[in-house]
């Protein structure tokens, strides 16, 4: 079994409202020196080795289901189980 971590983040040129809220909360809590916060998601997928070309399949899954290519970037890493 392979474990794949997919990291999905908003494109850098887009305003990340959730990140701005976290940044504001940190400033209100008294933290200084926080220059930016952005929030994304991780999708951890466990996939059987018998599934064949895992890298190609995960890339396809990202494009078909997990990622909005208009607004998001993604990268993934495969850990063999």
């Amino acid at each position: 079994m392979a474990k794949v971590n997919v990291y999905v983040t908003l494109k850098p040129e887009l305003l990340d409202a959730q990140g701005k809220v976290v940044q504001g909360a940190l400033e209100n809590l008294g933290y200084t020196g926080i220059e930016g916060v952005r929030v994304g998601k991780i999708v951890e997928i466990e996939i059987a080795d018998a599934a064949g070309n895992i890298e190609g399949k995960i890339d396809e899954i990202c494009r078909k289901l997990l990622v909005n290519p208009n607004t998001e970037d993604y990268r993934f890493e495969i850990e063999k189980g």
Copy 2:
């Protein structure tokens, strides 16, 4: 400036409803061999080097704001800018 990536995931013993939905969607799309899917979040924080003990500060930020210790685990990595 340092860039810190914080990874927040639901504790493994808890049911991840969002992950189950993604897993079901993948099965409906015809993907086989998907044994589990879990969804978490990434928080990318840019912090000034002058902020001092970055590791200690980020750990405190996780515990105070970003992570629910009852239901979530976290880890983070610091990239020097």
